[in-house]
């Protein structure tokens, strides 16, 4: 039986599934429910400085992109950091940690970019017994207008500076949460590392307008006739987040920096994908907000089953395993040739492959009068579009052309040796280097 125990930068939890800093972790009641349901850890919703807490809007905070059956594909929110009193939160954190010593509790923080502000709050957090802190440099709405959240995360120098203060005034692990609302995520990651961060977590939410109310002529959610941009999350952001994770994991400067993966993780498979791309653990929010805390049971059973099937006994066996296979386009093997192949027994004759190829690609699929579809090898560039639009899984597959065969499209013999753009004769820089 697979061992799901997680040790992320020295923070132990019974499984690698944490709830992200967000509405589900705003107070004791929710966090206790989460732990009872089986979550390995929580990042407590962001605390601000002592004093009158922030206020939230009193109209709607969320908007959603739905699938046809009201499946939540993407979620947008304009909620701010905790609007509850700092000391109330701290008391609750302390109580919950005492009752659940085996679970991870990380405290998310967002205070002004001044040393005094950090120096004031960090000892208070230290006293709760929580396992670490996460610096919220990511929230793109509301707080960013006040020079916090994403406003800090978009300036690498600020990240480094604040991280350094935290390492100076706090003894436990410091995780820096990154905003995706930047051009190159490696720079803030490197800044966090330079400041002494124990880990980075990403992504925070993406600037978004979820939809527009065409009657009111305003973005949703609409509050008294106006809307504002929010932070986008949920399954829709997963591909964007995974790319950012991989960029950090494979960059020589930041490789080895522990990563906590966040962004649309809904089931065990999503988690496994993040982890093989270099994440030591994952954080979940939208899936819990959609289905409740019970989804943790599927994540645990699914990851266990997959690990058993693959012979992984601990999560360290597979964390980062796909990182060496993430590369730049220029290093992809141009001598690798494949062709689409349609299995006539599985084909249901819908013609979607034909429409896609004929209208938008390479005219590489033939159609007979009795609706039989077949690939024209001399036209097929192996783009994979037909495979992806086919409603029948594995009906169309990509078949590798063995070295020595002649590619019917180029009339060239498929070469055995690797050959990529860096050595390709059409690449002007190949000659420039000579």
């Amino acid at each position: 039986m697979a061992d799901l125990t997680s040790n992320f930068v020295g923070i132990k939890s019974p499984n690698p599934f944490w709830l992200a800093s967000a509405p589900p972790t705003d107070k004791e009641y929710n966090v206790r429910r989460a732990f009872e349901a089986g979550w390995g850890g929580v990042v407590w919703k962001t605390l601000g400085s002592e004093g009158p807490p922030v206020v939230n809007v009193n109209g709607p905070r969320y908007g959603v992109v739905h699938g046809a059956d009201r499946r939540v594909l993407g979620l947008n929110n304009i909620e701010l950091i905790t609007d509850r009193d700092l000391y109330k939160n701290l008391d609750e954190i302390k109580r919950v940690k005492i009752d659940y010593p085996d679970r991870a509790i990380i405290v998310s923080l967002m205070v002004p970019c001044e040393e005094e502000a950090w120096k004031a709050i960090l000892p208070l957090v230290e006293e709760t017994g929580a396992d670490g802190i996460e610096l919220n440099f990511g929230c793109p709405h509301g707080m960013a207008e006040r020079g916090m959240g994403a406003a800090v995360g978009q300036v690498p120098e600020y990240i480094e500076m604040v991280t350094r203060w935290c390492k100076q005034y706090y003894s436990k692990p410091v995780i820096v949460k990154l905003t995706p609302n930047i051009t190159d995520v490696r720079q803030p990651a490197a800044a966090a590392q330079a400041g002494g961060a124990d880990a980075v977590s990403l992504i925070n939410t993406i600037n978004s307008i979820i939809s527009v109310d065409l009657d009111v002529m305003a973005p949703n959610p609409t509050i008294d006739g106006k809307g504002t941009h929010g932070g986008y999350c949920g399954p829709a952001v997963k591909p964007i987040a995974m790319n950012m994770v991989a960029e950090i994991a494979r960059d020589p400067e930041t490789s080895g920096l522990p990563i906590s993966g966040i962004g649309g993780i809904t089931n065990w498979r999503d988690a496994a994908e993040y982890m093989v791309l270099g994440c030591g653990n994952v954080q979940v929010c939208t899936a819990a907000m959609t289905y409740g805390f019970k989804i943790i049971e599927e994540m645990i059973s699914g990851l266990s089953q997959w690990m058993d099937e693959k012979g992984h006994t601990s999560i360290d066996d597979f964390v980062g395993r796909a990182v060496p296979n993430v590369t730049d386009w220029q290093y992809l093997n141009l001598n690798y040739v494949s062709k689409a192949s349609i299995n006539q027994d599985d084909c249901i004759n819908c013609g979607r492959c034909y429409a896609a190829c004929e209208d938008t690609s390479h005219q590489a699929i033939a159609m007979t009068k009795d609706r039989e579809f077949s690939v024209i090898d001399s036209e097929c560039v192996a783009c994979n579009l037909c495979v992806e639009v086919c409603p029948v899984e594995n009906c169309i597959t990509m078949v590798q052309q063995e070295p020595g065969m002649v590619d019917a499209r180029t009339n060239k013999v498929v070469e055995k040796e690797h050959g990529d753009w860096t050595t390709h004769p059409n690449n002007p820089s190949v000659f420039a280097a000579e």
Binding site: D69, R71, N267, W268, R269, Y291, G292, K294, I295, E297, E298, S301, G302, S304, Q305, W306, V392, E393
Partner: protein
């Protein structure tokens, strides 16, 4: 000699072999992987889900469906089996239309439930076809428990006790195990010898011995078993058949529906099973429907299912009633058999119409006759052969909420006990819960 649906009398081979095989094939084809993914996608993962509450074994239905949707059917099967070790059979025979699927929020809102039964079969088939047994027996406790009967209640009890590390001996009156799963269910609901395969798979937990041809009260006595074992669980079912209590019911070709169903399940060759041209089935439960439908599938020309009360009172679900009529069975409501008469080489059953007045069933005085080559009685079964030291209630073994009988260290469950309701899934729940209680008592 070639027979047809219209051949007079009781003969075999009314339909050709191919037609018979087709007729008795799976009632519902198994879901393909793609179909299962699409079906699972319809589940809303409801909180405190009504389907789960409706299931007598409380299977975590939203969870197992979510596990199918994320490509882990094996984990899904484990979720099912952890509550109901006979989840494979229940997926086939449960009247889901009156249990989980009836209360599915999509049934209530759209009239089209998530296909819970078929999804359960998809997951359980997946694990069982790999011959994986998902549970491990605990260390041996040296406690010995006897179980009377290897039907759903006995098997569920035995398996649970075996997981605790106890040694279990099942005494089975017949030559073959499985109880109603093996002998009492329509052939098209459990094809390819599924009941025996499931039994073998269940026993692979270890620590369970089955002694066949050992009937309680005949080959073994309850008091003997009681003194030889630390605890006894009785899951002996109902082996007696209720009488029609009408004139002529002992005539030849007035048969028990359960015998007809059992013979059909045990046959190697459907072409050799005899059935009359004209059939009358008397009763209103699943046994009546199973006998009527299978008579039709064997090639009987006219099959009448006669029930003494109205459609809404029938214990067979509306779904089952519609299944029967779709196969060509004629259902006559509000009629009661008065006598069985000889009519030439066949029989005539005289019925009287009934009506319910002030909650009481009364004859209207109007009568009619139906010609029949065979009459099947399906008006329920009764307890037969239970030891006289057990206290009975309403003709069944009296048990409390833990499954305890009136006799110390003797538990009971399933159809033979007061909580039974003729459902496989209820018997499984009672056998399982009795095992939990037995374990608690033995270790206290």
């Amino acid at each position: 000699m070639n027979h047809s649906t219209s051949t007079a009398g009781i003969v075999s081979g009314r339909l050709n072999a191919n037609a018979l095989v087709e007729n008795f094939d799976d009632l519902h084809a198994p879901l393909s992987k793609h179909e299962a993914l699409v079906a699972s996608d319809r589940c809303y993962f409801c909180h405190d889900a009504p389907c789960m509450t409706a299931c007598p074994t409380s299977i975590d239905i939203p969870l197992f469906i979510r596990q199918i949707s994320t490509g882990t059917a094996e984990a899904s099967a484990k979720t099912i089996f952890s509550q109901n070790i006979l989840g494979g059979m229940c997926a086939r025979v449960c009247p889901t239309e009156t249990l989980c699927e009836e209360v599915c929020v999509r049934e209530v809102s759209e009239g089209k439930p998530v296909e819970i039964g078929r999804l359960q079969r998809f997951a359980t088939d997946r694990l069982m076809s790999q011959n994986i047994h998902p549970f491990v027996r605990a260390n041996n406790t040296d406690k010995k428990i006897a179980i009377i009967g290897s039907g759903p209640a006995g098997l569920a009890c035995a398996h649970k006790l075996a997981t605790y590390g106890h040694d279990v001996t099942i005494f089975e009156a017949r030559k073959k195990g499985g109880g109603l799963n093996e002998f009492g269910i329509a052939t098209y609901k459990s094809i390819n010898d599924f009941a025996q395969k499931e039994l073998d798979w269940l026993l692979s937990i270890g620590g369970i011995k089955v002694e066949y041809d050992k009937a309680i009260g005949k080959d073994i006595s309850l008091s003997q078993v009681q003194s030889d074992y630390d605890a006894v669980f009785i899951g002996m079912g109902l082996s007696g058949v209720n009488a029609l209590r009408c004139e002529g019911e002992n005539m030849a070709n007035v048969d028990d529906a359960v015998t007809f169903i059992s013979d059909l399940r045990q046959t190697e060759n459907l072409s050799e099973v005899q059935v009359g041209r004209n059939i009358v089935v008397i009763g209103g439960g699943m046994t009546a429907v199973d006998a009527a439908v299978q008579s039709k599938l064997l090639g009987a020309q006219n099959v009448s299912l006669v029930y003494r009360r109205g459609k809404e009172n029938m214990s067979a679900s509306v779904y089952e009633q519609e299944l029967a009529t779709s196969k060509g069975v004629r259902i006559i409501y509000n009629a009661q058999p008065l006598k069985v008469l000889v009519n030439g080489s066949g029989l005539d059953v005289e019925f009287g119409y009934t009506e319910t007045i002030n909650g009481k069933l009364e004859q209207t005085g109007e009568k009619f006759n139906i010609n029949a080559d065979q009459v099947f009685k399906a008006i329920g079964q009764n307890l037969s052969g239970a030891s006289e030291i057990l206290t009975l209630s309403g003709g069944k073994i009296q048990i409390d909420e833990n499954g305890c009988t009136s006799v110390p260290n003797v538990w009971a469950g399933g159809d033979c006990a007061t909580g039974g309701d003729d459902l496989t899934v209820t018997a499984v729940a009672e056998g399982r819960d009795a095992a939990i209680n037995i374990n608690t008592m033995l270790l206290s």
